[in-house]
Symmetry: D2
């Protein structure tokens, strides 16, 4: 198999991470080019990591015929344009989550991808985490009988910048953070039929000014009648709180951990350890495995590990939950958008 030439589009926080992995830790790949609209960013990254080419925008990178595939790590609101351009240029596509801010946008993207016949893989890195993977294997092996209730907790140690909290930019708490939980819910339990959400701006009053909330609870009723609940928060003051539980007729699987550094301090004040600070400390290996998986699947002609349909389904749940929150009533998934 020849080396896959990948172009990185978007060199922000997440883009830098994927870029470093592609430059150094993914076998079978060459990070051939980077693009970023912000002046100097792509050039600086290219210099630091020895990338041969850099471009000031995604179009120029997509015109480069030596590029086989692209990793799109731009802000969500630009996904539609960049993905559609990439599809038309015939590149294999890796797209950071969430796919878009609306289902209409997602549908348009998928149509273009399908018309172009290009490879398209979504990013949901928890599907590559050792814990979430092992839970899936245990579940499928029958370790807990039939799953009947799913719990997922995602709590960030602090809120994003206020501008980002604007639901028009990020989709708001439920769409931005819940995407991972809704995807995990589908992975373990199947499709969702109905959601109900409650939430509030309880820790950071300033979020009200942009119309976002900082804590939410989203109930899920799956099509098979089983139950789920997702807890989201921006104020995990002690660190990064990511947990899940698959509750079955014969037992339970719990996912997650708190201690980062392997020491325990025992003093008269108590017995204490530290916490996982944030997502990179928790999911670094999963992010690496995810981009390796993309490269491997493209090179081997395998189907995408996570599809556009997965992206649509997670987005659909989030938008239905947002509607439930607005309207104060349960919302069926087949009518997520008003």
């Amino acid at each position: 198999m020849t080396t896959l030439n990948v172009g990185l589009i978007g060199v922000g926080r997440m883009g830098r991470m994927y870029g470093q992995y592609l430059a150094r830790r993914v076998p079978g790949v060459a990070l051939a080019a980077v693009a970023d609209q912000k002046p100097g960013v792509a050039e600086a990254f290219a210099a630091e990591f020895g990338v041969a080419k850099w471009y000031p925008n995604h179009q120029d990178l997509l015109s480069d015929r030596t590029i086989d595939a692209v990793a799109i790590v731009t802000s969500t609101s630009t996904h539609k344009e960049v993905v559609m351009d990439a599809a038309r240029s015939g590149k294999a596509i890796f797209c950071e989550k969430p796919i878009s801010l609306t289902l209409d946008d997602a549908r348009a993207m998928i149509q273009t991808v399908e018309a172009a016949g290009v490879f398209f893989q979504m990013a949901f890195q928890r599907r590559f985490d050792a814990g979430y993977l092992a839970a899936k294997r245990k579940l499928e092996a029958g370790a807990i009988g039939d799953p009947v209730m799913f719990t997922s907790i995602s709590r960030d140690p602090y809120p994003p910048p206020l501008a980002f909290c604007d639901p028009k930019v990020s989709g708001g708490l439920i769409a931005d953070m819940g995407a991972h939980d809704f995807d995990a819910a589908r992975m373990y339990m199947g499709e969702v039929r109905r959601v109900h959400a409650i939430g509030g701006t309880l820790a950071y009053p300033e979020m009200k000014s942009v119309g976002d909330i900082d804590n939410a609870i989203v109930d899920l009723v799956f099509r098979n009648g089983t139950l789920g609940v997702v807890q989201l928060s921006r104020n995990a003051a002690f660190g990064y709180d990511i947990r899940g539980e698959i509750w079955g007729t014969k037992g339970s699987i719990q996912i997650g951990y708190y201690r980062q550094t392997p020491i325990l301090i025992l003093t008269p004040e108590g017995i204490a350890h530290d916490a996982v600070p944030y997502f990179m400390e928790r999911f670094e290996d999963a992010y690496l495995a995810q981009i390796q998986n993309f490269v491997e699947h493209v090179r081997k002609g395998l189907p995408p590990f996570i599809t556009a349909a997965d992206a649509m389904a997670a987005l659909g749940i989030a938008l239905a939950a947002n509607r439930s929150l607005r309207e104060g009533r349960p919302v069926d998934i087949d009518q997520p958008e008003a």
Copy 2:
């Protein structure tokens, strides 16, 4: 202070436990009499524990003028009659939870208690558990800032007999099991404004025949805008799963534990420990502290630690949740009964 003469009404599983505590482990009290409708039960208990008197029904016990106070541990459907009779006889009353099956019954009981001017204390033993107590102290000391989300999990290792599952007898899963969680919710977060419940008969299909469910999720919106979620289940195959979390702006308090026996087994099959089997192993000390507290408060003329109003509020949440489950919509607490 003179010794308090207590009569025990109802010598079933819970009644035996309270009876043993009153006979042996509560200072300042004499278990002076027991009553049970089932032939031979009161007599046998009296013989076993050296109780001087036994009666075949509660009325006879209540007529005994040497009895100062009664512990009522009969089935919920009889609480109304027994409590009202006890109030009219002027005895101090300890009443096992839940207070009754309907709010109307509870109101009638409270009116009679108030008219008689007798002492009335409800049983919610978690309020005497070292964990729940310590959590309350930590919360009040400001350890986690302002509480914004409350999680409570109650999962039994196996279902009660099918006859008991009939909502007309036990109130059903949400009223029977959730009472403790709703009381804890109020203790930490304040009054509830609105509930939403989802549930299903997912582990024991036979429960459908009596109209009960075996798993449920109940969302709570408190009057102050904070959030809560209660998870209930009858199929904790591994043991007794009782946990809580008070989620605050500056940290979190988690309540609960799994390991019963202090050993850990490390083998090639994994690293494993046992679980808490059921409620007596988890809450034995709390039950003892609760009945001691009742005796102490009556003897010292202190107000009841847990009031009839507490019982009403927990019942109101449960009934509203049941209605939400039936009607598929959120239900406000000021309209819990159709």
Copy 3:
């Protein structure tokens, strides 16, 4: 079976505990009399717990023909006299650990007990602890293959009064604290062939004035060639640190726990819980089970659960370890006393 009339000799800290259990929580027994040399102590206890008779010394209690059995909880240095008097009076005997300060004393006691043909049971309450018991069952069930190394850690939260630390009174750190560990070692691994001890006065310099140490490590070589190590300390600043490990060819069993109250506090300072404060919080159930076991064995005519030979063996290890510490060399168990 008739009720066993037990007399309690010694109403100090441990004596009060056994006395309460005998008065209230042990079936089949009557606490018929108490004795303590300290003026007023026996009388006050008798009044508080409704004990019919009290005596100012053990001889008077032993002369009481209505007493069937005695629990001897006096200071170690008096054990020889009290036990021998009790044996001669024909009472069944429960003797708090350690049996004595020297092997010669122990031998004399045992001879008298055997000559009198009375029941004699030693106190080693860890043999009644749920953790130590479960470990034994697991070991015997083959869960970890053959045991090859035993670790035992006993660390007190603070030192006893300085007067008590005097090795002439308490036997010193190794004999006083290590008795439990040496007994556990024998229970799991068999007899000890050789010991080596190191130690120091490292936390409380004032202990040097009475000739005691506050930290020690004692190596054990068992007769079957397997290995053990006991760690002792008086400065567990955070609480009571009691742990054990049985290390086998196919796995390991670890005994012990730290958290007392079932809550976890998660704040920016870390994730913390409390510790077990001291021995009553850790071993209360074991102490109760131990005295119940004594009463049950006497009443049923069963042999003692823990014998005088067990007491001798644990003492022999302790004395050999003390000699090793003094002489700076390993000491064989068949020559423990110089």
Copy 4:
């Protein structure tokens, strides 16, 4: 700063690991050449990782004037020759532990290194582990008062090949495995004055044929009078058991963890998780940090993070422990070799 050209000598299991890190994950370095005596090994590694040059022996690599520094990862018995050759060739040296099999060899190596004036850094990767590092910081910050007892446990999941167990090849259990524990002991507690060791061939009888043991306990008395104990085993049937404890006058620091995958399985068989399989899963980050540290210190002209004297001291403890084991008596560190 210019890039450091490093040559890797020895491409066995550990050599491959360091080689991959040098090729891909260490900044400021070029893996310029590899050498291995085994035919084809260096060539194959060079091809796989794009290393420009490969040599069939260490002398040829050392003759390469473009090489600035070498990582020596050959078998311990060859360290003396390779290190001395490297020193004479003027290369900066990274040497995998243990430094040698005898103190005489180590002294000769150090003399040559000092005469040549080259940089020499020993490998003790635990000094780069997040847990051991954090423990050191906490200790130095006074979190537990003065340290008085140190415990270190190293237990491998299975024994090395029998040929390797021969003490003439590996130094035997105590020297081969204990090196890390003795180094950690010195890091936290200071120099060792006296040791005492017990051990046995308890799990793998076949080891007797080569003269090695599979379980050992080594007591340490430090020059400041504090105490230590090291437990070593080859039969951690469940995984890799690496733990430490620094016991202080005001508290304790415990190092280590068991769970590898962040999931917990709760079934009627118990509550279980997995274990850390072996050293790469436990110390991967530490090995990477260690080789990065070497490169950084050489490039910046900093002194070695771990010195030849550290290597000598750890070896001295191990050899004294071996002598103690043979002779059945404590051995002072100033006379470790017979």
